[in-house]
Symmetry: D2
Subunit: 342 residues, 4 copies
């Protein structure tokens, strides 16, 4: 059986969660997220974001979160803006378009959007009313390339969005990883202050399922719950989501798990760098994209699962390695061992 570095959702969930599910299992609770666990988890998230007035909704997964948030914010003729690597553009089977909205794509070097990336899109969409109106900026942190937004990055982007009357939405499927990267100076409080909406991803950070949508902008909070139900995302047993987020938020388990994943990736990264290996992008989170010889890739493939991401030339390709909240030292060390001896 090979060890998998293919993604961060290969395992089940953190044991605390299963324990809590066991303990609460036969209690009767209110449905549809009105259970005590969901209420407590939301309270805890409000505390940690420093925004007592944010509205919080738990949903099952990232595509669901993205399509509900974006379709609830935009008017029919408005569009989202995303880096071309954005999950909403390439990995969601047109989920946003299926709700009626165009997603405008911007090529970037590192998967991050800066005001200077967005300005040309705004400038090329001024032929009213013949073009969509760009209205929402979608970013991911950490990004699909493993890169992160610094506090300054986000401050500048947020100020720009306010000035241009754009909503800022952060896909936080890997927000824990973004915030706990060793070089990160961004905090959950800052994210809550600087975005209109964001979500805390559970699925890729130790939950069985679950993303916590946090709506900071009061205007966007109004009647939001209808959208959750209409898109089929309101679980009857909302406790399943509430219990998970309650456990993840307690004692900052959420951040500890993400930090662990990052650290395991950094161990591999460092080992590769020591061997002079180059990378597709400079990352400090749980995704790394080393460029390896095809021979080495073949050797590694015998014991590990991972994606070959991009052909570089006839001899070299970039692979993608992802570590998780549960990646053990053993897996990491075995991988490093092979690198060192090949």
């Amino acid at each position: 059986m090979k060890f998998s570095f293919k993604n961060d959702y290969s395992e089940g969930c953190h044991p605390n969660i299963l324990q809590a599910l066991l303990q609460s299992n036969l209690e009767q609770e209110a449905g549809y997220g009105e259970d005590q666990y969901s209420l407590q988890a939301k309270e805890l998230i409000r505390e940690k974001t420093g925004n007592k007035n944010c509205a919080i909704y738990f949903v099952s997964g990232g595509t669901q979160a993205n399509l509900i948030v974006i379709s609830s914010i935009l008017k029919p003729y408005q569009a989202a803006i995303s880096a071309s690597t954005g999950h909403v553009l390439n990995n969601e089977t047109g989920a946003i378009e299926a709700t009626g909205h165009k997603v405008l794509s911007i090529e970037t070097a590192d998967g991050k959007l800066r005001p200077s990336d967005i300005i040309p899109v705004l400038e090329s969409h001024t032929n009213v009313p013949h073009q969509v109106m760009p209205k929402l900026v979608y970013i991911s942190n950490s990004t699909e390339l493993g890169t992160i937004y610094t506090a300054r990055d986000l401050e500048e982007l947020s100020a720009f969005c306010k000035e241009r009357n754009l909503y800022l939405f952060m896909d936080g499927a890997r927000l824990g990883h973004g915030l706990t990267a060793e070089i990160s100076d961004l905090t959950l409080e800052k994210v809550a202050q600087l975005t209109d909406v964001f979500y805390l991803g559970g699925t890729k950070n130790g939950a069985l399922i679950g993303e916590a949508i946090v709506i900071n902008n009061p205007i966007l909070q109004e009647d939001f719950g209808f959208n959750i139900k209409q898109k089929g995302a309101l679980l009857a047993k909302g406790r399943l989501l509430g219990i998970q987020f309650l456990e993840l938020m307690k004692n900052n388990l959420y951040f500890d798990l993400a930090r662990h994943a990052n650290q395991q990736a950094m161990k591999i990264k460092n080992a590769l760098q020591e061997r002079g290996v180059a990378f597709l992008s400079v990352t400090y989170t749980n995704q790394i994209f080393p460029i390896l010889s095809n021979e080495l890739i073949e050797v590694l493939s015998e014991k590990f699962e991972f994606y070959v991401w991009k052909k570089i030339d006839d001899q070299y390709s970039a692979i993608r390695l992802i570590t998780s909240w549960n990646t053990p030292d053993q897996g990491v060390n075995d991988f490093i061992q092979i690198i060192k001896t090949n």
Copy 2:
């Protein structure tokens, strides 16, 4: 703490499921439903339906299942037909319409659709192209009123649909309850033979979440997985759904749980009938709608939670009682005790 008869999703899940989650928790599995548990669960369902060629997809909940199935089948100008009590009409925040399709409503006495109910709808939709084209018949079994389809009911409806070129889709959120009702002569095999699509509901029958969509009609199977993803219903950790259905299907636990729920409801029903109580509808499943005096309702409310469903007159109202896979004898007996002594 009052005992709740409000719904069948107040508790967590059957202990076998939690046990299986625990045992498999740290295994690495493929994502998006390609894990071994999902594959095994599907194999088991195929076996039990007797249709080796059906396509099976697991999703989180009933509204999600309904909107994905209906929107995947219908062309833009086609409509669904539902009893006016249908979940898609009244309890899904316009989820079907949000995918672009009208749902035509038919008033019925018992929440069931018969050919004679549908014919007038077809006859009043012949003004081509100024009206939607009715194309899919949506039924629930057991229905939202607790009633069930017999084998003959379904055979007649299925034959009618084939003759009229309509698709037949059964919402099986409570299919277990429908099939295990004491008077039911319908089987899972028959359901698979007579419908184009149906689903096996887990959420209301002992799972944490989960409905198993079963597509019998080969034409409707094509590329169906894209719809799951596009609507945000494809769980990264699909194992969560696979493990649950594998446990539920093993040794027919699914049917045992539903039968238990039905039996607990029937105990209350019998006790009420012995006291001469009338009911809104004649049901043999886990939902009953007794008509009680407001005084008795008040007394019961002190110890139990339930919905007051409908005012009958100034003195009497119908209440809705729902039992579940986990309703203990204690709750049932306590309830009966109050009835007998009031």
Copy 3:
């Protein structure tokens, strides 16, 4: 060749319009409704509505107007309310649902909505967030049954909508006919004061195509033009619409044409009443629904085209007769002659 009373769009357009098209034909004009004719026509409509600040958009037809207005106003989870006879419910192939919105149907005796009709719908949609939120009241004037709203009708409905936070939208495909009915005390100014949006129908009142959407509520005016374009309703040669409405508005031709249509229908109605004929509904506009013997219907069918609307019993049926801006005395007199002699 039979004379047709089937509808009010059998002929081309009022000769003044063709004359204006001829005179302006080779002038170069700005596209997309920025031509001088469209601007002048809007100015004239603003004058006649008494609302200098209304926003006006010309589109080709009624279904187009309805779907653009309703989809631009409602949020995804909000629904429209309509009488069951409403054009949006039965004659537009699900056009509103295709934009994602449910239309809630209310049975009425005469095709008109009153507060007392709407209250039960609001009261049965309080299960937040499991049901759509009713948000817009759709009415037609004159209605699909030929009936009209009096000033008092509309005042009461408008006050009710404001109180309940509902938008009021009047489909004016036959607004001219409604306002010029002999018993009407409603004026265009009143309509503009009492509705959030309405439109002036041209297609059924002497134009080749064209409806003038008038948005009175400033909130609903914002960026409305994007919706027109997105739904494919922005004509490159907008002059075609502008020229027509300019001609129709000049010297109140619009109202004269509608009054003519009404009068011709009333002549037939009076002749029928003198013969003791009963009607399906009491109308004063260009649609009448007399109940005639099947023998008489057959005789009339030899010389006239009309719809047999509804079977009353084995001997009698109601027919629908529609007169137009161009119905000549000859056609009316010939029809009356047959009635008198049969």
Copy 4:
């Protein structure tokens, strides 16, 4: 008053059309495209395409045609492919996305799609079911850059689409111009043989409004009329469209008008080339994009209206000149005169 080269829809319509409208004006005709003019016009188009079995529908404009055709063909998870200059991508306010479908963009040099352009898009959309399924190729002829498809171009593209199971849809807003370009060897018959659907544009070639959608693929013909009505595109007075296309098709007026527009553009092009002017793209249709000095542009602007299309450098810009079916020699000669003397 300046003469306008801004577009090909500045004037009204060809006089024959107005004459036909006048002559037929007071005849009573069936509504919704069942009038004799529409039926005759369709017959004539069928004759000229050489496809007796094609289905034909008239609609008001190009965006409407595009959104109806594309949304009727694609399943919810399928996407269209377009050159980045395609009208559906940049000039329709997200009309296609508003029907739920993504449009995949391909950068091209000349606005034309070749198999080699499309292959990479197909190859990068193989991550089933996480990405949309490309299913329809959208092309324009003449293109938005004034270029055209030769017979060989279209044969190769059509063969490729069949091989890859893609539908081929040609936006013919300027099909007349494309087919009558002096270098064109493509015919209407060929277009009908090689595409699944195309349309003949009237608005930009002498009609007041109107595009004739021609569906060659029998599978795509089924029930198509419902889509027309649902999208608000079915005119009550369909005669307005029928009469126009009947006049345009008679004696090949349609092609004569387009040829005239092309010839007027070529005169200007030749005059510019004689002066050594360069162009943005090599075109033989009614759109030309000469690169002129800013001084000359300013001089021309005093007497002519046109779009400054693209800044080339500090001294030069490309302008867009469009001629129409009605562009007189005078306008062309005046323009050339200025060029020659500046």
